[in-house]
């Protein structure tokens, strides 16, 4: 039908990741030792203006305390953005997904309930909202020769092998993987490149690599080894080491 084939673009998304506790963006180290960074709405706006391709908003204590969401706060953040907004933390049901979409989410992120209790919620959510709207959040902990899935912000073990779980989640209909590392998160010493490469090789859906960027060089190292669809950045942005714009222009130069 269309004879000319256009040149495919291959641009890694730069995603700002906001870890939320109550009314604050916080930054955990190894998912512990929280430090307050600022207001979710202000940071959403700031990272949007810097050029973020997306914003991920993860309530890191919602599952643990079985807390409801602050829908007003989610709406306030969504309103600051004209790029996609993914929201998660404590999601348990199709109704939770629905509430979040109606409060400004374009995608919903799920981990604990699907991993520890009810993987079928992924299947049901994909049937209603489509796979593209269902993001599975993986918190991986490295052991000798394998990675284990954790939940509740790296606190609770599952016994599940990360590579097996991501395959199951995708078969059930998850359309994207947010891949965090319990070992590397917040340490700013680089990504778990081996983990990320293995997960990308295991699934057909886009993988967003997170946990470990402390310098621009860490991102370049990662992208030299594998091709995540996106990179989620927290510390590097929160501590003002780099802006999204600086990250993007640096990556453009090496492309």
């Amino acid at each position: 039908m269309f004879p000319k084939v256009g040149k495919a673009r291959n641009v890694t998304r730069i995603i700002a990741k906001l870890d939320i506790k109550s009314q604050y963006v916080v930054k955990p180290i190894h998912f512990e030792g929280l430090r307050k960074i600022g207001s979710p709405a202000q940071l959403s706006r700031g990272y949007y203006e810097q050029g973020a391709d997306e914003v991920f908003y993860i309530d890191i204590v919602a599952s643990l305390y079985e807390r409801g969401y602050d829908l007003a706060q989610i709406q306030t953040c969504a309103k600051e953005l004209l790029v996609p907004f993914a929201v998660g933390g404590g999601v348990r049901s199709v109704d939770d997904f629905s509430r979040l979409f109606h409060a400004g989410a374009d995608k919903v992120v799920i981990n604990t309930h699907a991993l520890q209790e009810c993987p079928d919620v992924i299947t049901r959510a994909a049937r209603v909202f489509g796979s593209q709207a269902v993001v599975v959040n993986v918190e991986a902990k490295r052991w000798d020769g394998w990675w284990e899935c954790y939940s509740d912000c790296g606190r609770i073990r599952s016994g599940r092998n990360v590579l097996e779980w991501v395959k199951e989640a995708v078969e059930r209909g998850a359309g994207e993987v947010l891949l965090q590392s319990v070992d590397h998160d917040g340490r700013r010493r680089g990504f778990d490149v081996e983990l990320i490469g293995n997960v990308i090789g295991s699934v057909s859906v886009p993988v967003v690599a997170a946990s470990g960027a402390g310098t621009l060089a860490h991102i370049k190292e990662l992208l030299a080894c594998c091709t995540p669809s996106g990179v989620a950045i927290a510390s590097l942005l929160h501590y003002g080491v780099s802006t999204v714009g600086e990250i993007k222009s640096e990556l453009q130069e090496c492309a």
């Binding site: 269309f2 000319k4 084939v5 256009g6 040149k7 495919a8 673009r9 641009v11 998304r13 391709d53 709406q75 969504a78 309103k79 953005l81 004209l82 790029v83 996609p84 907004f85 199709v94 109704d95 997904f97 629905s98 979409f101 109606h102 409060a103 400004g104 989410a105 374009d106 995608k107 994909a126 049937r127 209603v128 909202f129 489509g130 796979s131 593209q132 709207a133 359309g175 994207e176 057909s204 859906v205 886009p206 993988v207 669809s229 996106g230």
Partner: protein, 201 residues
């Protein structure tokens, strides 16, 4: 001109579409039952859902008849799944009849990259289009989908992803469809929504 965003139940990022329409200067609200249509001059059918479930919700909420009657005479913009359900048939999970407003089919995206396609990309305007007026080759729009529209001829825009070039916009009379999300595509997306508002003038 008042723009009504069709709320077909559990799915749909309606909040963000209403905000973006307001940023484009529109007076926007939501349509959740058949009586609401009367208040609005133009319609937006949102995305973020799955094809069979959206059709079922439209049916069970008693929206189908009024929706089709209003699409027939009011400028209508389908976004992502909202564009896809305007087609005659879809194949998401199961084969399922669409609204049949345009003569397209909705099939799994065939490409060499990860699916769903997730991220910003440019579009090629291949035919004069009111909706895509002013769009340049460097403008980028957000794509977030696993299915694409095929077998349709009133195509105005194409996009490329992972060695695959396919339909991302159509326009037939006062009916418009876009595969990308103008409400999540920065200023370029607001420009497209402004064009849609002008289509009703």
């Amino acid at each position: 001109m008042k723009i009504g965003v069709v709320d077909y139940g559990r799915a749909g990022n309606i909040y963000n579409i209403v905000n973006a329409l307001e940023a484009a200067g529109a007076d926007a609200g939501t349509i959740s039952n058949a009586d609401d249509f009367a208040q609005y001059d133009q319609l937006v059918i949102p995305g973020v859902g799955a094809f069979p479930d959206a059709l079922e919700e439209i049916e069970t909420r008693g929206l189908r008849g009024a929706l089709l009657a209003n699409i027939a005479r009011k400028p209508t913009l389908g976004i992502c799944l909202g564009m896809q359900i305007l087609c005659k048939v879809g194949f998401e999970f199961v084969e399922c009849d669409g609204l049949g407003v345009v003569d397209g089919e909705v099939r799994p995206i065939q490409c060499k990259g990860p699916v769903p396609r997730m991220g910003f990309g440019s579009i090629e305007v291949v035919r004069p289009s009111r909706l895509l007026a002013g769009v340049t080759p460097t403008d980028e729009f957000y794509f977030m989908h696993s299915y694409e529209v095929v077998n349709y001829t009133d195509v105005t825009g194409l996009t490329s992803y992972a060695e695959h070039r396919y339909v991302c916009a159509f326009e037939t009379g006062h009916i418009f469809g876009v595969q990308f999300h103008p409400e999540r595509s920065r200023e370029a997306g607001i420009g497209v929504l402004k064009n849609f508002l002008h289509a009703g003038e």
